[in-house]
Amino acid sequence: MLTVTSLECARGDRRLFSDIEFSLDSGELLHVHGHNGSGKTTLLRTLCGLVLPVSGQINWNGDDISDLAEEFTQHLLYIGHKNSIKDDLTGLENLMVYSVLDGHPIAEKEAWDALSKIGLKGFEDLSTKVLSQGQKRRVALARLMLTKAKLWILDEPFVALDKAAVELLQDVIKQHISNGGMVILTTHQEVEMTTGTVKQLELGWKKQGHV
């Protein structure tokens, strides 16, 4: 369970938000809203432990995430604005490298399957620099099909995806939630969920977020 108490973050001298409180349990999804510049990305990066908060606590099953370090990151999958894939490697190679880094090495067969499932059949062994923006995003998101991480933190996962891919990704997220996973995401699209609980968090000056 992820618990956040009185979290405050700043970027340089500018305070982005303060007093953020929420908790996220198995089978729950948190949808973070906010206008541009309200600190959505910073919040997500803080929850991953990439950015240190000004004050406040982020606990994973009761322990501070900065103390847990690798014991927390093994449960975490973060996909940010950047696709984090290597342009000179093929989609397959990218997935294989990440599977080892994530601690669950996969066979090449599984990587082929994941890529064809996400709609990249025929593009698996092409260097990703020849792929379109949306296809690169798909390669990055194919990791969701292979990971064993419980907590997914997704920063604008639907950007650059076509309609079919958006629906596919929604299904993958639903599946993860119904299997008892947790998802935190930001998006400007409405995410329709049929299973699990969807929590909303609003960032911004007027309404400080409480869930």
Binding site: C48, G49, L50, V51, L52, E70, E71, T73, Q74, L76, Y78, G80, H81, K82, N83, S84, I85, K86, D87, D88, L89, E93, M96, V97, Y98, V100, L101, D102, G103, P105, S127
Partner: protein
């Protein structure tokens, strides 16, 4: 853990093979700088023999400085670095793999090219042998030390100049003992002392640099 190490090593070597310009530019710079001196100074063999170790070493130092730019910046830009920070693998192991890959790609070619360049300076076979040995021990040390500077200046504008300012002072001992070992051997004094110091620098930097780099990367990527 070992699997993660070898995966990153293999990944970086594959990337380097697919983008050869990084390797060749460093090597080309090294060859050109070293080759210019005999042309400028003239065919005075005694002078050339005397200055050869120093010039080869200074050129190797500058070439390795030139290559530092790419060590982490590409990973930083495409987001892979963030992911490396978030994997359950010890970051210093991944960093060690990256530095090793970087050395294999930019440092080792310099070592292998040294004998050819030594001929221009009329160095004896012994001197060339010891020059290669010092470069073999010294260039990885330069990669380790340089990695700290590269990690600290990640994402800064004008980082290149700053890296040189940070790293050059730290690299001076390597330079002194590296060039000194060759001179001492040639003059008959024996270069063992210099070589031991060089090896000590390598071992110390190999232990401390990955830790320092990991911390710097966490700060730089915030």
């Amino acid at each position: 853990m070992f699997r993660a190490f070898s995966t990153i090593l293999k990944r970086d070597l594959t990337l380097a093979m697919r983008r050869k310009s990084d390797i060749t530019s460093t090597l080309f710079f090294f060859v050109v700088v070293v080759s210019l001196f005999p042309l400028a100074i003239g065919p005075e063999m005694n002078t050339l023999r005397l200055i050869a170790p120093g010039i080869v070493w200074v050129a190797a130092l500058l070439a390795s400085m030139l290559a530092l730019d790419h060590m982490f910046s590409v990973d930083y830009e495409d987001g892979s670095l963030e992911q490396m920070l978030l994997t359950p693998q010890p970051l210093s192991i991944l960093v060690l793999a990256k530095i090793l890959a970087h050395w294999l790609v930019t440092g080792l070619p310099l070592v292998l090219m040294a004998p050819v360049l030594g001929l221009q300076y009329d160095l004896s076979a012994d001197a060339i042998g010891i020059l290669m040995l010092t470069l073999l021990i010294g260039t990885p040390a330069l990669s380790f030390i340089g990695a700290i500077g590269a990690a600290l200046t990640l994402g800064l504008r004008g980082g290149g100049v700053l890296v040189s300012l940070l790293v050059l002072p730290l690299s001076i001992p390597t330079l002194i003992f590296g060039a000194g070992a060759v001179e001492a051997t040639v003059s008959g004094l024996g270069g063992e002392g210099h070589l031991s110091m060089l090896l000590a620098i390598l071992l110390m930097s190999a232990v401390l640099a990955p830790l320092a780099v990991s911390m710097s990367l966490r700060i730089s990527s915030e």
